[in-house]
């Protein structure tokens, strides 16, 4: 899976995700990526792109849950992402990148690694695997 979340200078959040799925998947299998709210989601508060084992991400409605925790619990992006990755989905199954409408960035995973990179206008720049 690959994905990208962006907030532009106008405060516009967008999430985009694309995938080939997992090796040896059944013909006709649909993963989390195209299911709105699962592997890809954005609203007025944040944008989220997830990766990992799709069936767990679908069951956890990962993308929407991050947004919902922010909206209804008043949590920050980091708090919402931690809640979802650490408590709401099976360990070893999920990673995500996210950005909030205030420009906060989050990259989290409960697998051993996630190919990832992020930057913002202030000069923050990170590329990581583990």
């Amino acid at each position: 899976t690959v994905g990208c979340v962006v907030i532009d200078k106008l405060g516009h959040c967008v999430a985009a995700t694309s995938t080939g799925g997992r090796t040896n998947k059944m013909v006709g299998r649909i993963g989390d990526t195209p299911l709105v709210g699962a592997g890809n989601y954005a609203n007025h508060l944040c944008a989220v792109s997830a990766t990992g084992i799709g069936e767990y991400i679908i069951r956890g409605m990962v993308g929407h849950n991050v947004a919902a925790i922010m909206e209804y619990k008043g949590a920050s992006l980091a708090e919402a992402v931690t809640e979802v990755i650490d408590k709401q989905v099976e360990q070893g199954t999920t990673g995500l990148v996210a950005v909030s409408s205030s420009g906060e960035l989050a990259m989290a995973f409960n697998t051993t690694g996630m190919y990832r990179a992020a930057a913002d206008e202030s000069g923050y720049y990170e590329v990581g695997i583990w």
Partner: protein, 200 residues
């Protein structure tokens, strides 16, 4: 507002014993895709344009599991998926079951912008791609040596398991499967620890 961007190229059981050359290749590719997005944001491109641009670059890179380099199904075919969503308007577009579209993310955006629908799949999505004139390619464009080897490795692994075939087809969907440990098969479908990392 200040701009910000984050991207990923997949998560899973990534061995820390990854060869240095492979690690550098991956980090370079991630960095190049990030730079692409940074440059576009500095040029005041919209978040929608930047997200599509970056994901297209990731799709085009066979190091990652999307577009070229996508994994194979049980039948050895390619089926790709993508979606894109605009936060403020909540407009979105999604596609799945694509076999020939070089950049699924761009087709997802066209679903969002050119149709009243959210999601097109399989034959309908391919037909829509033809109507929109997006770039397509023969299966050999998407196939890589890595994806072919991955499929054979997984199928050989599954054939060696002692449980019945209906139990082992999808471990996570079949709780009765005798593959006890998640360490038995990594997210990339290879034996954990005993094989070199070959991507998600």
């Amino acid at each position: 507002m200040k701009w910000a961007i984050a991207l990923h190229g997949g998560a899973g059981d990534i061995s820390k014993d990854m060869p240095l050359q492979k690690k550098e290749e991956v980090e370079t590719a991630l960095s190049q895709c990030l730079q692409l997005g940074i440059s576009a944001l500095r040029d005041s491109c919209s978040a929608m344009d930047v997200a599509e641009l970056v994901v297209r670059a990731l799709e085009d890179n066979p190091l990652f599991n999307a577009g070229r380099g996508s994994v194979l199904t049980t039948e050895g075919t390619i089926e790709m998926e993508a979606s894109i969503m605009d936060g403020p308007s909540r407009k979105c577009g999604a596609v799945s079951g694509l076999t020939s579209v070089i950049n699924p993310i761009s087709l997802a955006r066209l679903v969002m912008e050119k149709t009243p629908h959210v999601y097109l799949a399989f034959a309908g999505a391919e037909m829509f791609a033809r109507q929109q004139g997006v770039a397509t390619a023969e299966p050999k464009y998407f196939l890589t040596e890595k994806s072919t080897k991955q499929l054979h490795a997984v199928q050989q692994l599954l054939a060696r398991q002692t449980c019945s075939s209906e139990d082992i087809t999808y471990k996570e969907a079949q709780p009765t499967c005798k593959l006890e440990s998640s360490a038995d098969v990594s997210l990339n479908g290879t034996l954990s620890g005993s094989q070199p990392f070959i991507g998600e």
